[in-house]
């Protein structure tokens, strides 16, 4: 193998020849040259330029925005709140500073793939909006850079600690979001009361798994064929680890060993995880879970009294059920009720965009006014304490107070998704395993397989060494 590197460079030479030929053939945007240099840095020396930007927190901001700047921003949604925030920025501070932001709506499906593909083709947007746990892989790959000195001292004081910790990787702050998330079970109060079911108000007070099992069966016996809506129709993707990893965490397991993030062995396939997943499988097999719903109507129309879902359904549910709507914590599978946390947030892509301009936009979308608008549009938990304090539904006695309690008790109740570049592999393995378990596969075997997949990904990336 001693002459291997030479062979590899010959391979690169062929690739380069291909590049030139192909670019000559059909290239209309003269990207051949960029490809050549990209190739060199990508395969031979690791990531030269990216590393310099990612590894060193040295001051990206110099306090000046030089000339008019246009920034691109990818977004997972095109709701009015997002387009409104961009329009408000462009009309307000943007005009003052000479910064224009252009919104590219990608939708949530395939969002992560898109960013990876864009990075592969050297075409990253300047500001990336992403779901929390993608950050760590993006940061490890050098797609995004730390905010560093762009963030003025004291400007983070109003943020929920959960937002800061979600945005931190390897000791550096990379991202900030306008809202955090909340997880629980939305219930129809009248149905619970009619069946003499206790309504817990805090996570400490959550139904135990046996109690919950009885509740589901009671409701089923009362004539509701599948009483628990679990949004199974969301399909693969972020929902399954977000919504259902808390089961395993509540049982005492986890989806990865968080001591060093090198293996899921024992955490995801240990006896606690297997027991909890077996219970969940039993519920599926006994028809207690509504796996056939194709949309939100079962709970909205009152056919199903329990809906296991995140904060985003609050608006629609409140409108449909009014005061009959009540939020209860997820059941306790052994070590206390847990809940998912974290949500979409903004980071500064690695590239030549002016960091001061990027920060100006991130600062704007995380300002109290915008946080209020965006969080309301998403029915989400505002990322700023000041905004949170002004909303009565998040105060004691309010509809969504449980979310606040859970987030304040993080990481004991609200449980962050693991801050590791392997998150994508963990999510895919867990998501597939959960689907297989619901479909009736052997629980131990399925979780062992998921562990093997996660560990193989980590091994294939040399353990994701910190750069």
């Amino acid at each position: 193998m001693s002459h291997a590197p030479r062979k590899f460079s010959r391979l690169l030479a062929i690739l380069f020849a291909f590049t030139l030929l192909a670019a000559a053939c059909g290239g209309d945007d003269g990207d051949g040259e960029g490809a050549g240099s990209e190739e060199g840095s990508g395969s031979e020396e690791g990531s030269g330029s990216e590393e310099a930007a990612g590894g060193d927190a040295a001051a990206p901001c110099d306090g000046n925005i030089d000339g008019p700047v246009t920034l691109t921003l990818t977004s997972h949604g095109s709701g009015d709140a997002y387009t409104g925030a961009v329009a408000d920025f462009n009309a307000g501070p943007g005009t003052e500073l000479g910064v224009t932001v252009e919104l590219i709506d990608l939708g949530e499906a395939g969002y992560e793939d898109f960013i990876v593909a864009a990075a592969a083709s050297g075409d990253l947007p300047d500001i990336i909006d992403m779901d929390g746990p993608f950050l760590y892989n993006f940061a490890w790959n050098g797609f995004v850079q730390p905010l560093g000195n762009c963030v003025p001292d004291g400007s983070l004081d109003d943020f929920l600690p959960s937002i800061i910790s979600q945005g931190t990787y390897n000791g550096e702050l990379y991202s900030l979001g306008a809202f955090d998330s909340g997880m629980g079970i939305w219930a129809k109060r009248s149905v619970l009361e009619a069946n003499d079911i206790r309504i817990p108000e805090t996570s400490e007070d959550a139904w135990t798994v046996d109690e919950f099992d009885t509740i589901l069966r009671t409701l089923q016996d009362s004539g509701i064929s599948s009483p628990l809506d679990i949004k199974w129709f969301y399909g693969a993707g972020e929902w399954r680890p977000y919504g259902f990893a808390p089961i395993i965490q509540s049982a005492g397991g986890d989806i990865i060993n968080r001591s060093d993030f090198q293996s899921a062995e024992g955490a995801l396939n240990g006896p606690e995880a297997v027991a909890a997943m077996t219970t969940f499988q039993t519920w599926a097999q006994d028809g207690l879970l509504d796996l056939e719903a194709v949309d939100d109507t079962p709970f909205i129309e009152g056919d199903v009294p329990l809906s296991w879902v995140g904060h985003w359904m609050y608006g629609a549910y409140k409108e449909a059920l009014g005061d009959d709507l009540v939020l209860v914590p997820l059941p306790d599978f052994g070590t206390g009720s847990k809940a998912g946390m974290g949500s979409w947030n903004y980071a500064m892509a690695t590239g030549d965009a002016d960091p001061d301009a990027v920060w100006a936009f991130i600062e704007f979308v995380t300002s109290p006014e915008q946080v209020k608008i965006i969080a309301d549009a998403e029915s989400a938990v505002p990322a700023l304490r000041s905004v949170l304090a002004a909303d009565p539904t998040f105060q004691p006695g309010g509809d969504r107070y449980l979310y606040v309690l859970n987030l304040e008790a993080a990481p004991d109740i609200a449980f962050p998704r693991p801050a590791t570049p392997a998150y994508g592999a963990i999510r895919d393995a867990f998501s597939d395993a959960l689907a297989d378990i619901v479909a009736g596969a052997d629980v131990q075997e399925t979780l062992d397989k998921a562990v093997a997949e996660i560990d193989a990904d980590i091994a294939a990336n040399d353990g994701y060494p910190t750069q």
């Binding site: 590049t19 670019a23 990207d31 051949g32 990608l106 395939g110 864009a118 592969a120 083709s121």
Partner: protein, 290 residues
Amino acid sequence: MTAVAAAVAPPKSKGIKKRVWPSYVAMGLFAIFFLFPVAIMVIGSLKADEVVIRDQTSLAAFNPSPFEAGSNYASAADTGNYFTSLRVSMIVSTVIVIGGMFVNSLFGYALARLKFKGQRFLLGLVVALIIIPFEALAVPLLLMMSEIQWTDTLRAQFLPFIAQPLYIYLFYSFFKGLPKELEEAAMIDGAGPYRTFFSVVFPLARPAYASAAILTFLYSWGQFLWPVMVARSAEVRPLPLGLTFFRGVPPVQWADLMAFATMMVLPVVIVFILFQRHFIEGVAGSGLKG
């Protein structure tokens, strides 16, 4: 190939006449099997989203009520970006079909008729390449496209599919089987190889072109695996990918999805019904040369 449509007078024995009814029953049952999904698609595209699945348990499935065709098709066009995807599919397929006809037949002709150095080697290479399925090349090709920053472009979707060893070989066999006399006569009249090809050979080869064009079109129109790998943004998603992206946003709006599917198959179905004989002959032509 034209034999497919050639009418052969049916033998008029009594035994055959007796068996007409069972044949009709069988053909009718099969016709139902092939048509009812089409009916469900079209009718599903006309009614409200929430009843598409719900109505499946009864004959209500075939009743377009409540009628919401307008909003379904509008949603497929706006949210589903149908017209963007249609444009992508049309550009990609057109370039592949026309470019493919051109380069593959020229190469096939050169291998069959013209004499040049390396000809036998090239013929051997083409035959060898026939057995390499595209799927075996997809991963390295993806890396190459990514290195030259071609992912998310249209050219990444059509360039790899223009030259096809199978069609080069089909054209080669076709030209090999043509009588040489016509070409020789043209040559004697002073026509060079270019004029000979375009004015003498090309018109004779229409059936081969039709067959290759139709097969190439059906293949490129339905391409899925490669777009899954290289097409990301809405601007470069061909119809099959556009359809699955449209479905990817929960909750699935079934009627909108059926509207997208209907609009997606409609252009091809219309062309097919207009030219069904050519379609069927074209596909049948592929069987003659294994």
